[in-house]
């Protein structure tokens, strides 16, 4: 053992656990990390041959000066908001719902079944489709939920695998009995006019935006004001404590997953009846992971989900025009999303720790 060495260093980095930060400081750190992610993204885009002023034009000027582009952004934001909410509700109950896409598929299948089989009167058709979609989404999450609660089967695996079953079942329908008889394309027959969500009178914006805002308000109330939300917060913060205090943890998780599945199903309906006017074979692609990212970035906060969804949507719409005018692959949009998510995840570190340089 060497006690006698006189060890002197001039400077060193020191890492300390911070006192919990206030909301303002957290927001600033979050914003800085988003800006940092954006600057990396801009750098990459410039490297791939888009010049900076074009980026400004595509992502800011063209979107906010053109009513058409702005409405396209809002239309695109709707399904993102709904899947974001779906992921947030499940995550609050510590249920990692990776099966949002599968639940969207079954939501759309249920809604399309109502539409193609003309179930119920025409005036009630959309309402029935909406309810059927919610039920379809629930139907596709109920099994993973039950085996998680009863048998402790990992829901990440079960919900993920359920996606594949749902996708192949969808293909089975679209290449089989549900193939569009008019065109022969592998998608469902087109919905009747009254089976589409009506336009609300401004550009291409349809009624699904109202649904998305309403659902956001409901989830906000659920999280912030209801007893259910309070119990979810306790469960999220300390599951052992929840159980020890007599909260019926199993039922709580079950209800949260049901709500999550219903929201995903409704999203399937919103895409099919709001944008595509039929059920296609790829309407759900990418929404599952987008939902997870949005819920994560928004810290499961419904208002945050509205904002993040809007930003994601701008990225998607702007990305589409980059694709058309600059031959930038759409994968670039996903890359940008990933960079921003990683920067925000990394910012957790600065929220928890303080770095200082000590001088001796």
């Amino acid at each position: 053992m060497n006690y006698s060495g006189n060890i002197l260093t001039k400077k060193r980095l020191n890492l300390e656990v911070r006192e919990p930060l206030g909301l303002l400081a957290k927001t600033i750190i979050l914003l800085v990390s988003v800006l940092f992610g954006l600057s990396i993204s801009i750098f990459i885009l410039i490297l791939s041959g888009v010049n900076a002023s074009d980026l400004w034009n595509e992502f800011i000027i063209y979107i906010f000066t053109s009513q058409k582009n702005l409405s396209a952004v809002l239309v695109q934001a709707v399904p993102l908001i709904i899947v974001g909410l779906s992921a947030a509700v499940a995550f609050r109950a510590k249920f990692w719902n990776i099966g949002i896409e599968g639940q969207m598929i079954f939501g759309a299948i249920a809604a399309t079944f109502i539409a193609t089989n003309d179930v119920g009167p025409e005036s009630m058709r959309l309402t029935l489709m909406f309810l059927a979609a919610a039920a379809g989404g629930i139907g596709w999450i109920i099994l993973p939920a039950i085996i998680k609660i009863r048998l402790d089967v990992n829901e990440i695996i079960s919900t993920l695998l359920m996606n594949y079953i749902a996708f192949n079942f969808l293909l089975h329908l679209l290449y089989g009995s549900w193939r569009d008889p008019l065109t022969g394309f592998p998608n469902s027959q087109q919905y009747d006019t009254f089976e589409n969500l009506p336009l609300i009178g401004w550009q291409s914006l349809n009624f699904s935006i109202v649904i998305a805002l309403f659902l956001s308000a409901v989830i906000f109330w659920l999280f912030v004001f209801s007893r259910f939300g309070y119990m979810l917060r306790v469960l999220h913060s300390n599951a052992n404590m929840a159980q020890s205090l007599g909260i019926r943890v199993g039922i709580l998780i079950f209800l949260a997953t049901i709500i999550s599945g219903a929201l995903a199903g409704i999203c399937g309906f919103a895409v099919s009846a709001g944008i595509e006017s039929r059920m296609t074979q790829s309407f759900f692609v990418g929404y599952g992971f987008s939902g997870i990212l949005i819920a994560f970035l928004a810290r499961e906060n419904p208002i945050g989900i509205l904002i993040v969804s809007l930003l994601f949507s701008i990225l998607v719409i702007g990305g589409q025009s980059l694709q058309v005018f600059y031959q930038i692959p759409f994968a670039m949009v996903q890359l940008i999303q990933a960079i921003i998510v990683m920067c925000v995840a990394g910012s957790e570190f600065f929220i928890r720790y303080r770095i200082s340089i000590l001088k001796r």
């Binding site: 053992m1 060497n2 006690y3 006698s4 060495g5 006189n6 060890i7 002197l8 260093t9 060193r12 020191n14 300390e16 006192e19 919990p20 004001f225 209801s226 007893r227 259910f228 939300g229 309070y230 119990m231 917060r233 306790v234 913060s237 300390n238 052992n240 404590m241 159980q243 020890s244 205090l245 007599g246 909260i247 019926r248 000590l358 001796r360």
Partner: protein, 504 residues
């Protein structure tokens, strides 16, 4: 004992200052340690003991001041550096990988070459060390499945095998029984005599008085005095620590009523390394504290969780006066019958650190439908009730009720748990090590609350590994050993008899 000469300071900490934000944790503190001594560091929670030791162990960097080792200034840049200088610390909250075996945990800090052969060598070294210092431990068991007392032994072994010459022990005996503590101090004496120096951070005055060569008392981030145990009486020492006198005298029930709860032949099966309960039968009366004494890991946790309905009974009945057999009820139903629970590990089972103080307090009332409807939580009412309770229970360090529960110190966190659990006027209280890790003042407050509940007619089951606590509070004492109650005593009882039953 080697002669203490002031020339041979092993460690000198000079005018150390450390602050966290606006909070000055230690202020110009000078502290020294000589070869071969056991130096007790006494003080209440928040007095600055842990901060000072964390500076020594390289976990915090001091803002000002310097540390000298054998007269040479050293710059302790981190825990690894401290370790290489021969400074080892056993923290109050253990730093163990719970999925690893005890052996693997030790191998992590004290690697012995290649893993496979190293493990073989290390196993031999650990076993010989354990027999040398009288430790009993299954080193192949997962650490997460060991009792708290056993986990501590792993931590001590880690430090000893790491070759530490300066050993800092933060509240080492908080989780040990009398017998274990005696053996523990024998070890410490041995180590000190062989030239190591030991810093003992503790709340327990008796230990400091009996085993330390010198005692340093801290209060409010400053050193009040450094004395030798012969200089002062225990009472004088107490007043040094708290600035006033707190007296510990047995507080037994004056009015024991009829039978409130009767446990009949409780049996559980052992799984995940838990101890099976065997044929536990006992009765607790109204206005009585029934103390369960025993060495940690003999079924205490299993008994508590079986009573609260958190784990399943195989056979047996829990008869609660007025409610019949509650053994098949869910935890929420049992709570509705008047049961409440103060668990041993409050951070894990009783507090949601990321939620506010109000939310932590109001959750039990919420579940009793006291605060608004399903549709709308009446957070104003919850806030009012919480702030009233916080005043009544004298919970200090509360800046506002929206601060996170994680920011409370141990004593105040425990007061929060008790205020919540007592908010329903419970008729049967299960308290497991309720004063573990608390300072004198908080301990006195927690015990007073238990006595108050008892005086109001509640039946209390006090499970504690601290025999002093059992003797101070219990009207009847049962000794748990290997999952069964092996002896039962009426208070007052000789400490020796209980101790014997605990280790037989």
């Amino acid at each position: 004992m080697p002669k203490i000469t002031h020339q041979s300071h092993l460690i000198e900490m000079e005018k150390i200052t450390k602050s966290f934000g606006d909070f000055l944790a230690i202020d110009q503190v000078s502290f020294n340690l000589t070869h071969g001594e056991i130096h007790a560091l006494l003080g209440e929670n928040g007095a600055g003991k842990s901060s000072l030791m964390n500076v020594l162990a390289g976990i915090y960097a001091q803002d000002e001041g310097q540390i000298k080792l054998n007269g040479n200034t050293v710059d302790i840049t981190g825990p690894a550096m401290a370790k290489s200088l021969g400074i080892g610390m056993v923290h109050q909250h253990y730093k163990l990988v719970s999925n690893f075996s005890a052996l693997d945990n030790i191998a992590l800090t004290v690697p012995h070459g290649a893993y496979q052969s190293g493990i073989r060598d290390l196993r031999k070294i650990i076993i010989s060390k354990m027999s040398e210092i009288g430790f009993d431990l299954d080193i192949d068991k997962q650490v997460g499945k060991l009792s708290v007392a056993e986990q501590q032994r792993v931590e001590i072994l880690k430090v000893l095998l790491g070759g530490a010459k300066i050993i800092v022990l933060d509240e080492p005996t908080a989780v040990l029984t009398d017998e274990e503590s005696k053996g523990f101090f024998k070890t410490i004496k041995l180590l000190a005599e062989s030239g190591a120096a030991v810093i003992l951070v503790t709340h327990k005055l008796k230990e400091a008085m009996n085993y330390a060569d010198r005692i340093t008392v801290m209060r409010g981030g400053q050193i009040i005095d450094t004395i030798t145990p012969e200089d002062l009486s225990e009472e004088q020492l107490i007043s040094l620590i708290v600035g006033e006198i707190i007296i510990d005298e047995p507080n037994l029930s004056k009015d024991i009523g009829d039978r409130k709860i009767s446990l009949q032949n409780l049996q559980t099966t052992s799984h995940d390394g838990s101890i099976a309960l065997k044929n536990i039968s006992l009765n607790i009366r109204r206005g009585e504290i029934y103390g369960i004494a025993g060495v940690g890991g003999n079924g205490q946790a299993e008994l508590a969780s079986a009573l609260m309905g958190l784990s399943k009974l195989e056979t047996g009945a829990i008869l609660l006066n007025g409610h019949g057999d509650i053994s098949s009820m869910r935890p929420d139903q049992r709570r509705n019958c008047g049961l409440v629970y103060i668990p041993a590990d409050r951070q894990k089972y009783a507090l949601a650190g990321q939620l506010s103080l109000t939310e932590n307090y109001a959750i039990s009332g919420l579940l009793r439908h006291e605060f608004g409807s399903w549709f709308k939580v009446n957070s104003f009412k919850a806030f009012e009730k919480a702030s009233k309770a916080f005043k009544e229970y004298d919970i200090m360090g509360v800046r506002n009720l929206n601060q996170k529960a994680a920011s409370l110190s141990g004593g105040n966190a425990q007061k929060l748990v008790i205020s919540r659990e007592f908010s329903s006027n419970p008729s049967f209280i299960i308290a497991h090590s309720p004063s573990r890790g608390l300072d004198l003042r908080a301990t006195a407050a927690v015990r007073a609350k238990l006595c108050m509940a008892r005086d109001n007619g509640a039946a209390v089951l006090l499970i504690s590994e601290d025999l002093d606590e059992i003797l101070l509070l219990s009207d009847t004492i049962g000794v748990i050993n290997g999952g069964s109650i092996v002896a039962e005593f009426e208070a007052p009882t000789a400490r020796h008899d209980i101790g014997k039953a605990m280790v037989n």
